[in-house]
Point group: C2
């Protein structure tokens, strides 16, 4: 393990049509943390703000809103995996000895430009992520016999999980029939196969070993990190339209760093922007054999997306990677309340993609050093 720990983690309520400003939304999970641990505010010497918004100097302004005197302050963007990237920066600053306690905040509003990938001319006239999801779904169905019912069952599972997550965007149960009968967007992807971009914020506090042990009996340690950019454009994402090069490489790097095998994991938060992406990600993470992802939805043996994933919780771009990490931390701390998965749970993984899977960031967390 890295001897760097997450000691507190919170998400605000994910929602839409908020009249609240980005900065106010960003403050919500931070205030929850400071309400629980008032002294923590004074220990923070680095604030990292993950967002795709255009708020210049945003991390420093956010620090002033929160009454934090930091040394390092940065706004960080890498589209939908901005959140895990900011966590990786915080880890590195502590590891390099430049600071000791880092607040990583992710927040975005539903109207982010990042909903459309206009800069990628290799997508032709199809800049919306749903177009590439349809290509991946068609390819996986053709090659491996994956069915629309299997995809729909991902949505049903994650929406049901979200009902136990007070921060989730969605709070109602859906049925297989409702998913299959929902409006077709791009064949075979239907409305309820898609995650919704929304407003939301999440935050974690990370620190070094000495501080962590002083602060809490149940720190969650960063065990592995893996990142990979395969391209910025659709053209370089995949050789076969049924897996993501970036995620496969990033996962292998994270497993190597953590010195674990996929089967050692107890819980995974993966980037289910569309139902087909959850199925493909089982395979990219080596949880299921290639082509077996469709069956794994109902026959998998570890907890996948217990907070409801992006499909159930919503997808505020810059917050998503942090919200995923919050869930793994709460589960490993045993603080996930109604969502708490089986014990003993020791190892969890965060799988966070960006821009149609053209880049991936994976973080493995563990409850034991």
């Amino acid at each position: 393990m890295s001897e760097i720990a997450v000691i507190s983690a919170k998400s605000g309520k994910f929602r839409k049509d908020s009249s609240t400003s980005l900065l106010d939304i960003a403050c919500e999970p931070c205030i929850s943390i400071f309400n629980q641990y008032p002294h923590l505010r004074d220990d923070i010497d680095c604030v990292l703000f993950s967002t795709t918004s255009d708020i210049q100097y945003g991390s420093t302004i956010l620090s002033e809103y929160l009454g934090i005197k930091s040394n390092i302050s940065q706004r960080i963007d890498n589209l939908c995996n901005s959140g895990t990237n900011a966590i990786i920066s915080g880890y590195s600053f502590i590891k390099a000895g430049l600071c000791s306690t880092v607040l990583v905040v992710g927040a975005d509003l539903k109207n982010t430009q990042g909903r459309s990938l206009k800069w990628d001319i290799s997508r032709g006239q199809f800049p919306f992520p749903v177009h590439w999801a349809a290509l991946f779904a068609k390819s996986h169905m053709r090659r491996f016999g994956t069915t629309e019912e299997q995809m729909a069952s991902v949505a049903v599972k994650n929406r049901n999980n979200a009902m136990k997550n007070p921060a989730a965007f969605h709070s109602s149960r859906i049925t297989l029939e409702e998913v299959l009968g929902s409006k077709k967007i791009v064949d075979p992807i239907k409305l309820l196969d898609c995650s919704f971009v929304c407003d939301g914020a999440s935050a974690i506090v990370m620190t070094n070993k000495d501080n962590a042990k002083e602060f809490t009996d149940i720190p969650v340690w960063i065990a592995g990190i893996g990142t990979c950019v395969s391209s910025a454009s659709f053209a370089g994402i995949s050789d076969d339209l049924s897996s993501l090069k970036s995620a496969k490489i990033a996962a292998r790097r994270a497993y190597d760093m953590a010195k674990i095998r996929p089967r050692d994991l107890d819980i995974v938060e993966l980037h289910d922007a569309f139902t087909i992406m959850e199925i493909i990600s089982y395979e990219d993470l080596d949880l299921a054999e290639k082509g077996e992802g469709g069956k794994y939805v109902t026959h998998g043996d570890i907890a996948i997306n217990p907070r409801g994933g992006l499909l159930g919780s919503g997808h505020p771009l810059g917050a998503t990677g942090i919200a995923q990490t919050v869930e793994i931390v709460e589960q490993l701390m045993g603080k996930a309340e109604g969502r708490q998965v089986q014990t003993p749970h020791r190892l969890g993984l965060v799988h966070n993609l960006a821009a149609a899977g053209s880049s991936a960031a994976i973080i493995i967390l563990g409850s034991e050093l």
Copy 2:
């Protein structure tokens, strides 16, 4: 020393009214580096893009433009010290063992929103940085007898230095009389006391010790890093309007990490957004005694802003901290051509402020490990 080195550094031409896109401008210094060292492109496993622009996923798109396959990719903003912040991230990623060779690119266009600090309501109706520069100038003149001539002589020195810098925005000599006679903006600040926000890009490549020694006989090592945020608003910047809390603290941290004294420095690139800021920064960096900054302009004993500083080179916000670092690296490598300062030169410092000095980042570089 940190055992992390800068091995190549370039700036593109700083200019205005460019018809070139931000990404094209950002590529210019990178292509200069790769033209000189073609194999370096394949070694890069991290691309960091410092910019205040709203280009989402910008570092990953830039990587694809440049044909780089990276692991870590981030767009980083902290307004005018985005550049040094990105360098500090690159340093930390290498130090943490997450990557080995980092390309840090800074680029901005003159029309950045960051010209005006509208979010800071403590500035009342005065959102432009020139207003606070005038307050600092008045205070320094009143308390220490600093004169308008001393401020003007900063502009003359730096504009003359810029004539030897092919990347500089300005290329013409100016006289003391021209500075003193230029249009008054906010008393006592005149037009030629101000740096100009312009288009521009700079880039450096950093790597670990083993790679550095294989690559070049003259790596430049990162010896010290110091950062500090005093506030995001004018209200928290200074106790006496004649020094910047952030810069003083950041400098002390950098000197401590590098285990050097200010007098050990041979060369400094400091953040002369306005002439008064160079005078105040001599004092904040402990190069001159408090109140003696005005006299130090013409009586200092080390090279200050040999590339022309911001006053001579121009100020493309996200590029500035990297352009400053390029100059120190070229000087310590002995590659500054017509600008090369006295030898032996072993230690240089980069002083990079943001948003009226509300945050500061200092990097000390050395030619010996």
